[in-house]
Symmetry: C2
């Protein structure tokens, strides 16, 4: 267990000026809700964001740096089940085995812990990614992830509800919020009832204010 | 009526990262609520903020520039009654005549329109400030203020509820939010249900992200 030096990190979590991480009227066909796409446009304007989707070009600079940083020094990822796929309930209701959104070679290249109340056997993918489907309390899953990361950090990949749960439990060491200066007028809030964190860095590009928060001393 | 060029402006409205303009547990003795003082600390670190309270020193730079800008080109102010004083209900319940928080020479030096359901006669102070106590709809009071400003802009001085009402009515031309990167965990929200504005400028100092919003085209 290497908890003393390794950290649980959240990166590039886009939030609107009015506090939403997704717009109103979210459903399976509109995962970011009405207007929510505006939260993620900054990503695809960067060089790293373009590379992620197989494009080229894009801006370097501050936004690009923050985006890249999210993938550095990470040895394991934790994500909510909705980040892995659209399937609810027991996995055996799925006709063919769902293997995630990312094709045969997911961009993780390390162990990924998918929170679910329906554990199933691990799914080994090309490129070093193995999905582990775990049903446990947040701290127990975090312990598993730290062990798998073997001294590197663990990244908390989302979604917003999962991040909120880990924040409420005081288990997040490093939270990077990308504040996008749009008003969505409604939707899913990130920071409701979250306290006990303080901002250590605030910088902005013309399109995003980047904030880094850590637990208050 | 000079509405076509003059603007209704809001400046230096401090909001927490979680969207609050005052902390929880607001009352007469705690007008900014629990933790809410953290929203205003940046003001008193600036040279202009220090000068406002009769101090000296303080930082110049971005925060100072934004603070100063709020007083430039303003010919009249509108404020909610709570900004003028702690008195509720009819004024004649007040033993001695309340003359505002600012002493005999308020820092406005122009006509100030105080929204109240209990009109009373204007109060002329030293230094060019006259308080007008007006009971009318938001647009009607704004028309009065533009006339009094005689071509200069009108500043909407607060409080938050008054700003929210003018935002909802689509009457604000220029909104400067000073986003302070603290979590208050509860309190009075500024932007609930506000849409129809877009950010034209985003810059930050290490302690405040400054956003300027205008009505969407």
């Amino acid at each position: 267990m290497t908890r003393s030096t390794a950290r649980l990190r959240v990166h590039n979590l886009s939030m609107s000026l009015d506090g939403y991480v997704a717009g109103p009227n979210q459903d399976a066909d509109h995962p970011v809700g009405t207007g929510g796409h505006a939260l993620h446009e900054w990503i695809f304007k960067t060089a790293y964001g373009q590379a992620m989707i197989g494009g080229s070009g894009g801006d370097t600079g501050r936004d690009d740096e923050f985006l890249r940083r999210g993938d550095e020094g990470v040895g394991a990822t934790i994500m909510g089940r909705n980040m892995f796929g659209p399937i609810r309930g027991p996995w055996d209701s799925v006709p063919d085995e769902w293997r995630g959104w990312w094709g045969e070679t997911p961009p993780y290249h390390h162990p990924v812990f998918v929170l679910t109340h329906h554990p199933r056997k691990p799914l080994e993918m090309a490129g070093g990614t193995t999905f582990h489907f775990v049903d446990g309390d947040l701290a127990a899953v975090l312990t598993q992830a730290f062990e798998a990361a073997a001294g590197a950090d663990v990244r908390l990949g989302g979604g917003a509800a999962t991040v909120r749960q880990y924040l409420r439990a005081g288990l997040v060491d490093d939270l990077h919020i990308a504040l996008v200066p749009v008003l969505l007028g409604g939707g899913e809030r990130l920071l409701d009832g979250i306290t006990g964190y303080e901002t250590t860095d605030l910088v902005s590009s013309p399109s995003v204010a980047h904030l880094r928060l850590v637990r208050s001393a």
